[in-house]
């Protein structure tokens, strides 16, 4: 009998004790931007920082980089993986009381939306001058830690079984031989696939661009609701062609699986991967310093490049040594990033009708 | 003999529940198996009904060996202690359920069902649900359901144990009348001495799995086989009805 009572009182007490143990960090008022330390040198001495920096990242591979930051500043880093759409939803729901400090990675369109909603903190530091202005926000609300490029992943076995010729360009993809064999993610959930739509619309012009996607739509098997769908479906022999981000992890796939990468000859769409500090966060200072810390020191960027197995940081900071691009940057499509955020809603809405029409037909 | 049990044995794991049991019963008679709880009377009934298979021995009914027949193929029906009525069916559906398996046409089954319900005084309740009627009424539904298929033998497992004393006396009388009218052969299991004395044509007294005495009630009353039987019956006095039927048994009390 005693145990039951014990359990009951435990449950009653649970509320109080748990609130207490978690509430401490969130009750500290965030310092306002004006009191932040003005950085003076490119590698200024670390300001007095303390506490914990909470990070939402796109993956769990960044441990060593964060450990280095902890060693330099004494700030503990805790991180969790979330997709950029999830982060944005969470931010909006939190209504200006973010539970994390730093946003590390994710398609830049979400960062642009967040900036427009006033959810990001401005970060400025001297070394920002060395960064290519194409890949950073002019007002310093977001920076890029690299870019994601988009290409095709082909399943060689399926291509052969189905008697398909390898596509080499975006134009090839509308060929009717690929009907039902191309997988692409819904541009609403995938920053990279949104980049495809935006970049092609920019390069082809609105009318021709939409004609292209209408034609492509006929060949698309379905639009994945997760960003990794195309890559996964092609790797697991489910579909022949995937429109996917390309990085070293995809390159590694080609060694283990019977898949190959195609860099489209008529241009590679790309999307910057954002880094930003949440406005009103508990540890704004640490997060702001982290941004400066990362971009001011080439060692840190090289560590990042190594962890990510990506070389985009060379584009972000052209002066960076020890990281070489594995592709010719001239094949990157011309993209006007200023259109990226502003057009998102319209483009997605149009795209939705395009997909929607087809989805309904397929249902019957 | 119409019903003949010979050398029945049953054990549950290491416990012998029925030991070398043999007796017989003539057509149209009512036999009461009497004994205190745990004496093997319900086990015996279950073996006759086919719910338990004897470890040894034989059961003959109307000259046919039914020992190995499953319950659904025996011309035997049971009125269970808990009645076993179908809660999702009406009274009439319950009563006519067994007719389905005799190829009886629906209309005819309905007519027969109403006739049997009338017999047990429940004609007005044909459309009622089981949970809407009282315990005594449920008892009668169970009885009608068991009799309607015109079995060769009807078994009753302490059917009145859930009823109050007054109702029990009434039901006892109704059952006896019904049994005479239908000329039904019945085996009735009970631990109630008075019930057994009043109802039965023959009585079988069991103790620890064995048959102690088998005879007509008055024979047992006058000539109990041993001191146990005498003490177990514990009859002090008998009260008779004017028509010569036994009305009441007055017992010493506490003789169980």
């Amino acid at each position: 009998m005693k145990r039951n009572i014990l359990a009951l009182s435990l449950a009653l007490a649970m509320g109080a004790s748990l609130t207490a143990c978690g509430g401490g960090s969130s009750s500290t008022p965030a310092p306002s931007a004006s009191t932040a330390v003005e950085p003076t040198a490119s590698q200024a001495a670390a300001p007095e920082l303390s506490g914990t920096m909470k990070v939402v990242a796109t993956g769990d591979i960044y441990g060593p980089l964060f450990e280095q930051f902890t060693a330099d500043t004494g700030v503990d880093v805790e991180y969790i993986s979330m997709s950029s759409g999830e982060v944005l939803s969470k931010l909006r729901a939190e209504g200006g009381t973010p539970s994390a400090d730093l946003w590390f990675g994710g398609g830049i369109d979400a960062f642009m939306s967040a900036k427009d909603d006033g959810l990001l903190e401005q970060v400025q530091f001297d070394a920002a001058e060395d960064l290519d202005p194409t890949y950073r926000d002019a007002d310093g609300y977001w920076y890029s830690k690299g870019i994601t490029i988009v290409g095709f992943l082909l399943n060689n076995g399926l291509m052969k079984d189905l008697g398909l010729t390898d596509p080499t360009s975006w134009a090839d993809l509308t060929d009717s031989q690929y009907a039902g064999e191309i997988v692409m993610s819904n541009p609403a959930v995938s920053g990279t696939n949104y980049a495809v739509v935006n970049a092609l619309l920019q390069s082809l012009g609105d009318e021709e661009g939409w004609n292209y996607f209408t034609a492509l739509n006929d060949n698309i098997a379905y639009y994945g609701k997760r960003g990794s769908d195309p890559k996964n479906k092609v790797t697991s022999d489910e579909f022949a062609i995937g429109i996917t981000y390309i990085d070293r992890s995809i390159e590694a796939l080609t060694e283990e699986n019977d898949v190959s990468i195609v860099y489209p000859t008529d241009g590679i769409p790309w999307v910057p991967e954002g880094v930003a500090v949440f406005k009103n966060a508990d540890n704004v200072d640490a997060a702001k310093y982290f941004v400066e810390w990362l971009f001011s020191n080439d060692d840190h960027l090289r560590t990042l490049a190594e962890l990510e197995q990506k070389d985009g940081s060379k584009l972000i900071k052209p002066s960076l040594e020890g990281v070489e691009l594995s592709y010719d940057p001239s094949i990157l499509m011309k993209e006007d990033l200023s259109q990226f955020g502003a057009q998102r809603e319209d483009i997605l809405a149009k795209f939705e009708t395009l997909m929607g029409d087809k989805a309904n037909v397929a249902d019957e | 003999m119409y019903l003949e049990l010979s050398h029945l044995n049953k054990r549950f794991e290491d416990r012998e529940v029925v030991k070398d049991l043999s007796f017989g019963l003539e057509r149209g008679e009512l036999l009461c198996i009497l004994g205190s709880s745990g004496c093997g009377k319900t086990t015996t009934l279950n073996m006759i009904g086919g719910f338990l298979r004897p470890d040894g021995g034989q059961i003959l009914l109307d000259g046919e060996d039914i020992t190995d027949l499953p319950p659904e193929r025996r011309p035997v029906t049971t009125v269970f202690q808990s009645y076993g009525l179908f809660p999702h069916m009406t009274v009439l559906q319950n009563v006519t359920y067994g007719l389905k398996f005799q190829g009886c046409p629906r209309a005819e089954a309905r007519k027969k069902g109403l006739r049997y319900l009338e017999m047990v005084g429940l004609k007005d309740y044909a459309a009622a649900r089981i949970h809407e009627i009282s315990g005594g009424e449920q008892q009668r539904v169970a009885l009608a359901r068991a009799l309607i298929v015109e079995p060769k033998l009807c078994l009753l497992d302490e059917p009145f144990s859930n009823l109050d004393a007054a109702l029990r006396v009434k039901m006892r009388r109704e059952l006896k009348t019904l049994q005479r009218d239908l000329d039904m052969t019945m085996v009735f299991v009970t631990h109630d001495q008075e019930e057994a004395m009043i109802l039965s044509d023959h009585m079988a007294i069991m103790r620890e799995g064995r048959l102690i005495q088998y005879d007509r009630p008055m024979e047992i009353y006058h000539h109990p086989a041993d001191a146990f039987v005498a003490r177990f019956l514990g009859v002090k006095d008998l009260i008779w009805e004017p028509d010569g039927r036994l009305l009441k048994v007055i017992r010493d009390g506490g003789a169980e």
Binding site: N4, I5, A7, A11, M14, T19, C21, G22, G23, S26, S27, V56, G59, E78, I80, S81, G85, E86, L88, S89, K90, R92, A93, E94, G95, T97, A110, G157, A188, A221, Y222, K225, S228, K231, S236, D237, E238, L253, E256, N257, A359, A362, D363 | F51, P70, P71, R73, T78, S82, Y83, G84, L85, F86, H88, M89, Y97, F101, Q102, R145, V149
Partner: protein, 564 residues
């Protein structure tokens, strides 16, 4: 209040009176705590979602525009949701009834084995089940393509239906097995006695008596299918459902107003079905009341039951074979490496598994334990107050507590952020909010289990306890809680399995510093490391089974000690 009230009988009347008063006070407090918690952790977040859908929070003024948008745009998604819901509920119920009847008529090792499979299947880590499904039955599936040479496309509504139906079976089957074990054995024996062959008994007695339970299964599966977004997102292909569209609104468009409005749409059919559920549950109680609830196996030779019996056997075998394959596939994938389509054994992922920090696993177990124990106790008490005490507004509270079952997990999580991001209710970032979310997400099922079990605790026991001088608290402590022992175990198993694998609703609530095992699984899935994901899923399954086994053992020992 640890002392039974009667011990103080010899003392002064006033002390006895005081003790009694304290008991009454605690009783009121407990009730207040229960109802208060439901208001705080269910009603309030739901209100926040409603307000958001009407644009009443977050800046702009009141407008129904989101509803108009949803109504005009998502009718086909809603139709598809209903279609998938109905068919998968039907299929799932067919599987569940078959499995329940099959299991109830089996004894010995076969029953033990099947029960073990059911228990394993209760643990359903997100994503990997669907991935295993694709691996087995996909376009290049091991079974469909490699074994049978079929070339078919699993990415459609039927894939979703099939997957959902299978994944809802374990819970339903356990529920139905409970109902079957309460069936009045007398009815079955009577039917046999009257000449009914096994087939007729199954058709005329067993199935009709199960009918309310079967309908409950249908409804619960239907509502669950409506709220399920994971399956259609992964294997729906072009086929979409309202729940999947809600998920898309959240992760793709971050449009909280619209997704909230879509939730409200989803609630309409669900709430309608809830009231139907209540009505049916009442009837079910009536059909099984008075039965002697003995735990004995149903004596029905299923193989002699004609076509119906064969159908039941075939469906259950199909289910158990498919489940064994699915979980076998998950486990095996962790040790297989595919090099250009050729599989070979590898321990690479096994070693990787051990790099996951132990504290993450331990935290998962601790959270889940707290949620399971707290949630089970909460559900027991809640069921008691709802079923046995005349609490004002009880049907309202009963409906409230069921709401989280009807929402896609993602939205229940968002609702919690909306509700708890400001003082004085600032809970975001705490462990409490995560556990509360898990607990209240699972409470609908927990309370249903407890309510069903409560019908087995006779009211006269309560009366007896009070008659002997025990107050309301003594009734709860000495009659209700011990009487709900069987419910405790099933409730605990359900809660623990779910807590260890919940992800959708708490992804928004989890603090970066307090990672849970299931998010390691997420990371692995995200990076496309299926082998590692499979292995993490297997590890979670093993941990769940181990902890559950331990709790079984403890409670069994506790029971044994009590008896001696």
């Amino acid at each position: 209040m640890n002392k039974p009230a009667f011990q103080s009988r010899g003392k002064r009347v006033s002390s006895k009176e005081a003790l009694f008063r304290i008991g009454e006070g605690v009783d009121k407090l407990v009730l207040l705590f229960l109802l208060g918690s439901v208001c705080l952790f269910v009603l309030w977040p739901m209100t926040c979602i409603l307000l958001r859908s009407l644009h009443l929070s977050g800046g702009d003024g009141f407008t129904l525009s989101s509803y108009v948008q949803v109504w005009t745009k998502y009718q086909s998604a809603l139709r598809n949701s209903l279609f998938i819901g109905i068919v998968s509920a039907l299929l799932c119920t067919l599987f569940s009834v078959s499995a329940a009847v099959f299991l109830s008529t089996r004894r010995g090792w076969m029953k033990g084995l099947c029960m073990a499979v059911l228990l394993v299947c209760m643990v359903s880590p997100p994503f990997v089940s669907s991935l295993a499904y694709i691996q087995l039955y996909g376009r290049r599936g091991w079974i469909t393509y490699r074994l049978l040479g079929l070339s078919w496309d699993p990415y459609n509504s039927w894939g979703v239906i099939w997957m959902q139906a299978l994944s809802f079976v374990p819970m339903n089957a356990l529920f139905l097995i409970g109902i079957l074990s309460k069936l009045d054995g007398g009815s079955l024996r009577a039917a046999r006695d009257l000449g009914a062959r096994p087939g007729a008994i199954l058709r005329d007695v067993v199935l009709p008596l199960m009918r309310p339970g079967i309908l409950v299964c249908l409804l619960l599966s239907f509502v669950r299918s409506l709220a399920d977004f994971g399956t259609p997102v992964i294997i729906g292909g072009r086929s979409t459902t309202l729940a999947a569209e809600i998920y898309l609104q959240v992760v793709g468009y971050s449009d909280l107003e619209k997704s909230s409005a879509m939730n409200m749409f989803l609630l309409v059919p669900s709430i309608a079905f809830f009231f139907l559920y209540r009505a049916l549950m009442r009837r079910s109680d009536r059909l099984t009341e008075g039965a002697r609830g003995k735990q004995e196996s149903l004596s029905l030779p299923l193989f002699r039951c004609g076509p119906l019996g064969w159908l039941a056997v075939a469906m259950s075998l199909l289910f158990f074979v498919m489940m064994t394959l699915q979980y076998g596939c998950i486990f095996l994938s962790g040790f297989l490496k595919s090099t250009k389509g050729v599989y070979s054994f590898t321990l690479k992922y096994w070693h990787q598994l051990w790099t996951i920090s132990g504290s993450t696993m331990v935290r998962s177990v601790i959270y889940s334990l707290i949620v399971s124990l707290g949630g089970t106790l909460f559900a027991m008490l809640f069921a008691y107050y709802m079923e046995r005490r005349r609490v004002p507004g009880r049907s309202l509270f009963d409906c409230l507590v069921t709401l989280p079952y009807m929402l896609p997990g993602t939205c229940f999580g968002i609702g919690y952020i909306l509700a708890f991001n400001h003082a004085p209710l600032k809970l975001t970032g705490t462990a409490l909010i995560v556990m509360a979310n898990m607990m209240f997400k699972q409470l609908p099922t927990s309370t249903k289990i407890c309510s069903a079990s409560l019908t087995q605790v006779p009211v006269y026991l309560e009366k007896a306890a009070r008659d002997l001088g025990g107050g309301q608290m003594a009734v709860v402590r000495d009659v209700i809680l011990p009487g709900l022992r069987p419910a405790f175990l099933s409730c605990f198993v359900y809660n623990f399995s779910s807590s260890m694998t919940t992800a959708g609703s708490i992804i928004f609530l989890i603090d970066p510093g307090r990672q849970l095992a299931v998010f390691k699984l997420f990371d692995a899935v995200y990076t496309g490391d299926y082998a590692l994901a499979s292995l993490i899923a297997s590890a979670i399954t093993v941990i769940v089974l181990a902890v559950e086994g331990l709790v079984f053992l403890i409670s069994w020992k506790g029971a044994a000690r009590r008896v001696s």
